[in-house]
Amino acid sequence: MKQFGKILKFELRNYLQNKVFIGITLFLVIALAIVMFFPRIMEHFSGNESGDGERPVMLIANDSPEHAEMVQAAFAAVFAQYEVRLTDADPAAVQEQITSGEAECAFVLHSLQSYTYYVNNLSMYDSNPTTADAVLQSLYRTNAMIENGLTPEQAEQILSVQIAHETRSLGKDQFQNFFYTYVMIFALYMVILLYGQMVATNVATEKSSRAMELLITSANPVSMMFGKVIASCLAGLLQLVAVFGTVLVCFRLNRSYWAGMESFFDMPPELFLYMLVFFVLGFFIYAFLYGAIGSTATKLEDINTSVMPITVLFIVAFIVVIFSMTSGDVDNTVMRVCSYIPFTSPMAMFTRIAMSTVPFYEILISIVILIGSVIGIGVLSAKIYRVGVLLYGTTPRIGAILKAIRKA
């Protein structure tokens, strides 16, 4: 136990003194802080630009003069960001004004039911025609009702009728939980792939530098394996705390700029607890496998091909979960099965807990299986490690290793 503590401390210090580790963490923290401050920064800039200064010009040319005033008034009300100007110019002259930059866009109305929209560069997000459609539609209907004998007030009332509705979710709100489920699954995915590789490389480096000769005679392989894996898990969690902590603090500072997003950051505490449990257990199970594989590699270059089967297994689990999440049906048979298999349950069970209603006993069974598997795979990987690190030469096949473990 004392030895395990020493190993844990040493390995953790390795991570915290690693320049790449510090660099990546700092980069992520800064990048996310910029993202979270982006709306405020944007507003700062755009505020300076348009505030009291000139607004871009929108031209209205009308073939049927009787509606001209009414159309301008309606457009001016809707397009507040434009200076809406009525013009008598013919379409060719209007186009000329737009290309020369005098006006930004123009509606040339043929009647209330048809118009041509002129703009210099059509932006991907230009919603002016859609807005104009709605305005004209409303004008047309009002006119039609007035012509049929209703007063303008009556027409207004009919058109502006509102339907009151309310949605009450008795289980989970999938839309709201989708966000942090997605973030957690993705974080788990990234951290396992990144740190799993790190554990594998760490072991393989010790082996290829022959530091292993001394380590294996100084320390118990189980302490060694658990020390390494738990250290990398702590380093990963620390990195996540730094990253998500930054996001949360920046969100608090910019709360008013992220209106409507509050619910994404208000994760229920019990869900957070489940997230932590599944995250740590899921991390362990893969990190042990990565460590065991690292110990069998003879050269550092072999690592990437050796860890391939684990990486593929993990990616398949990731894809199943993401597909089920986006399809909205997180309780399908595949997901149910996956939420008990230790390699997939961290992602699958957590997704189900977050986005659907799962009985507590199911969660408990899943966690118990997972804990059992973590211990089993941990001990197995320590055995593979003990045999693997002393095998130089060609990278052995799985069968040969298992045989060696049984004999040893």
């Binding site: 004392k2 030895q3 020493k6 190993i7 040493f10 010790e206 530098s209 022959r210 530091a211 292993m212 000769e213 001394l214 380590l215 294996i216 005679t217 100084s218 320390a219 003990r386 045999v387 002393l390 040969a400 045989k403 060696a404 004999k407 040893a408």
Partner: protein, 296 residues
């Protein structure tokens, strides 16, 4: 303190690497474990240190099965290697701690050893900035800093210059004088001959020769004489088949029986101008070649 390997057998897969190896090493003495590459030296050492268990046989300390939680081993592996990118003091303290030392004791002991080996100036440097010989000295500290009762040195002299080799010899002598069991494994026979009181030669997973080195030498038939003389050619010509020239310019005379020694000595001193006559004792190198050479 007496360390015994008792009839150890070990197989990896189909291949039997050790076929009943028995050794005895005593405290306050150095023991030489010899053998060609692949003879089973490293496997024996690993079983001794409990890296993996033997298929059969036992490791005993003072007649009882060894308790690995109590006995401290110091090991200088043949394949050297530490953490190249880490500070020397950090990794030395780490290894001492892994062997059960407290942090403060570990730092104190490592500093003492750095000073003893003249390495104090490299204390805060990274290992890979050191020369090969100096890295070797750092590796030696990992084997000794935690004051082990049993010290295992695998090829300790390879890569050391004569000055450092002298330093290492002094250190090893001190460790032996402290009553520790020191186990040497080397191909450099002159060092083994200098240090080791007893040896064992492994060949093909078996001990083919074991015992006190001077006994082994004495037990060789004493029927051969080494002669230094200015009249080499004359002696060679007149003694005929029983006499041959050796590489270093001496003559080696083989007699039918040890009892003929005195007669031959008398004859040589009376008839020829002889500088030196002595009974031939084989060097460890000769013994090694004879026992380890042909049976692998």
């Amino acid at each position: 303190m007496k360390l015994e390997l008792n009839n150890i057998e070990k197989s990896f897969g189909e291949k039997q690497v050790l076929k009943g190896v028995s050794l005895t090493a005593e405290g306050g003495k150095a023991f030489g474990l010899l053998g060609r590459n692949g003879a089973g030296k490293t496997t024996s050492i690993r079983i001794l240190m409990n890296v993996f268990p033997a298929n059969r046989g036992r490791v005993l300390l003072d007649g009882r099965p060894i308790d690995y939680r109590r006995v401290r081993f110091g090991y200088l592996p043949e394949e050297r290697g530490l953490y190249p990118k880490k500070k020397i003091i950090d990794q030395l303290v780490y290894f001492a701690e892994l062997k059960g030392m407290g942090h403060a004791d570990a730092v104190r002991s490592v500093d003492k050893w750095l000073e003893r080996l003249g390495m104090t100036e490299y204390r805060a440097k990274r290992l890979d900035t050191l020369s090969k010989g100096n890295q070797q000295k750092i590796q030696l500290i990992t084997a000794l800093a935690h004051d082990p009762q049993i010290v295992i040195l695998d090829e300790p002299f390879s890569g050391l210059d004569p000055v450092n080799a002298m330093l290492l010899k002094d250190v090893v002598r001190e460790e032996i004088a402290k009553g520790k069991i020191v186990l040497f494994s080397s191909h450099q026979m002159n060092y083994i001959e200098e240090f080791c009181d007893s040896i064992a030669i492994l060949n093909g997973g078996q001990v083919v020769l074991a015992g006190e080195l001077h006994e082994i030498k004495r037990n060789y038939p004493r029927n051969r004489l080494v002669v230094q003389s200015a009249e080499r050619e004359r002696i060679l010509g007149e003694l005929g088949d029983c006499c041959r020239a050796t590489e270093n310019g001496a003559l080696l005379i083989t007699l039918p029986s040890p009892a003929d020694k005195a007669g031959m000595m008398k004859r040589l001193t009376e008839h020829y101008d002889v500088d030196e006559i002595k009974v031939f004792e084989p060097s460890l190198n000769d013994i090694f070649v004879e026992y380890a050479g042909n049976r692998s």
